[in-house]
Symmetry: C2
């Protein structure tokens, strides 16, 4: 998911390195100019640029530009404030009111964390939600409080159930994170589809074939030529599907349904049956580790577990075993120093938007 532009691409001016802090400030100023409150704009910019810094380029500035468009077209209302509409000691329902999805998601995760501090575990669901950005951001909020965090979100129809010929649910990602001591936190952030749509789009744009098992046509048969735009004539496959496209494996499908129930049915915001374009519901959980055992012992055991996996004898000595989340953590360390590589077209769009809105140019 994470990849740096080549030296050639940088030299040719296709990509430009932009300082993360400046980028965050630039994004925040633009959202403020679009009538988002200072507070919400700062949260939104932080979540978006965290994604760019972690190398998840699909969910960073590119996604921010889409949010800006959606504010202009009225899909997102920039002026609303998400709030808790129902709660108990350990649970909450947050209404996002159709505002920026990341703002409601941030409140929901904060609420889950606050409740976990009291009861040991807390959870919160979203109604009237929108796209929440990089899902892995939210569990990392819990990690910062010495907690375990989890987040899931549902999405537009693009994936078929096992045995099915039509897309019926989204890439329904699952994110989970836990703190460690000397090692980096463990972070899992995965779609429950074999690959995200972006990989198929990229293969299409480059004129490359896709491996059997990634996607199927309208008859449920494996596609090797990547389709273009997202429509219902083809579908992604859920993870665990066999390469021959037989689709008998229920595991990725089952995980996607689990996500749909937690994100869409539990709080009642809407599941795959009735999710409109631009709507995404979500669910967040936090566990206070200290209520189960002293945090130092937990962190020491996490360090041991992480090292144990990293020290596995590799199949290919030139490719050591890594932990899920390592590529994103590596990207974060590197990009925090040298900057985020933005495609020149993306940067130009961002600058034009800033100038049009009369906000200072910071990148």
């Amino acid at each position: 998911m994470t990849s740096e532009p080549t030296v050639e691409q940088i030299a040719a001016g296709e990509f430009v390195r932009v300082d993360g802090t400046a980028l965050r400030e630039q994004m925040a100023r633009i959202f403020v100019a679009l009538r988002v409150s200072e507070d919400h704009a700062a949260t939104t910019a932080d979540i978006l640029v965290a994604s760019d810094l972690r190398g998840v380029d699909t969910h960073g500035v590119v996604t921010g530009l889409r949010y800006m468009e959606q504010i202009e077209t009225g899909l997102i209302d920039p002026t609303v404030t998400p709030h808790v509409v129902r709660e108990s000691l350990g649970s909450a329902v947050v209404s996002n009111e159709g505002g920026l999805g990341v703002v409601g998601a941030h409140l929901a995760m904060r609420t889950a964390i606050e409740k976990a501090r009291v009861t040991g575990i807390g959870h919160a669901g979203i109604v009237d939600g929108r796209h929440i950005g990089m899902v892995g951001y939210y569990p990392l909020m819990a990690v910062g409080q010495d907690m375990i965090g989890m987040a899931v979100t549902n999405a537009n129809r693009s994936v078929r159930p096992a045995r099915g010929a039509d897309p019926r649910f989204g890439t329904n990602p699952i994110a989970f994170a836990a703190p460690a001591g000397e090692e980096r936190p463990f972070v899992l952030d995965m779609a429950t589809s074999t690959v995200a749509s972006g990989k198929v789009r990229r293969a299409h744009a480059l004129g490359l074939p896709i491996p059997r098992g990634w996607a199927v046509d309208g008859n449920g048969q494996p596609l090797e030529t990547p389709p273009g735009a997202r429509d219902t004539s083809w579908a992604l496959t859920p993870i665990g599907e066999s390469a021959d496209g037989e689709g008998v494996n229920y595991k990725g499908y089952g995980l996607a349904v689990m996500v749909d129930i937690l994100a869409g049915v539990l709080a009642g915001g809407g599941s795959s049956v009735d999710l409109d374009y631009g709507s995404n519901m979500a669910w967040f959980m936090a566990i206070d580790i200290g209520k189960m055992r002293p945090i130092e012992g937990f962190k020491a055991d996490m360090d041991r577990l992480i090292r144990y996996f990293a020290e596995t004898r590799p199949s290919d000595p030139s490719r050591p075993v890594i932990l899920p989340g390592d590529p994103e953590a590596d990207a974060f360390e590197y990009r925090s120093k040298v900057g985020v590589p933005l495609h020149r077209d993306t940067l130009a769009t961002l600058r034009t938007r800033a100038q049009t809105l009369g906000t200072p140019l910071l990148v």
Copy 2:
């Protein structure tokens, strides 16, 4: 996972149908004869026979016979009582004291449910745990209380991490269940490996090849000839691994690590680094749906979601789309009427054990 013996196998006397209620009582009596309390014996027998009834034959009477052996060899202490050693409003650590794993697991799930009734969400982890049987049993306990349930457990090393050549963690299953209204509850019960070890064992016993992608040899290369006994010279693959065995997909591996953290590190019972043979730690969660929204609306939405998936246009018209858990629910309905098919050797072993212990013969 579920399959009925053929008419020919029944006719040849290879399999015998046994009434589920009688089987439960027979199992309970044997455990009592092995010094398990009446209460714990009833719980143990219920969990084991629920597995046979749901068609999960690997975790029913066959597993019960193993527990009996483990009591005799001293691996399981039949006389201990699991108890809560640490708790907060919404969390608990249950010590299983090295007794029957299913008894401690049952207490932990009950505790999570009781806490969820107060706080909206509850969780419990196990220390000093043993094998907990069919993981899907525990979330179904929550469903019976109009709650969502989740359970995970770690296990002996048998699966390799992506890129790895050695087995480093167990099949680390995830189970999740949610109630519906007119439809059957949604139940997901899945190993995070491509297949369970049992499938490789069965292929070995039948002299059949296995598909590339199920298992790898000691160099991390795909196996097509199934290996025999479980040892460290080969490994299962995590779900999501590519069929060519390149093992670049981190998703099943990541889910297995998540399970290891929740089951093994959170309460401190032990993760894959230090899990001895015969030890299994576990984690349980319950969510009180009524604290998020009225249960009737939740159930009506679940019915709509389940029907929506079941009505997906199938790739092959002769194989309709089903929900994960449907095969097990079908088996439960069928076997509750006609009985559980036990292999004659399994039944003979059970009867011999009953007679040796001087308990009445009920099957």
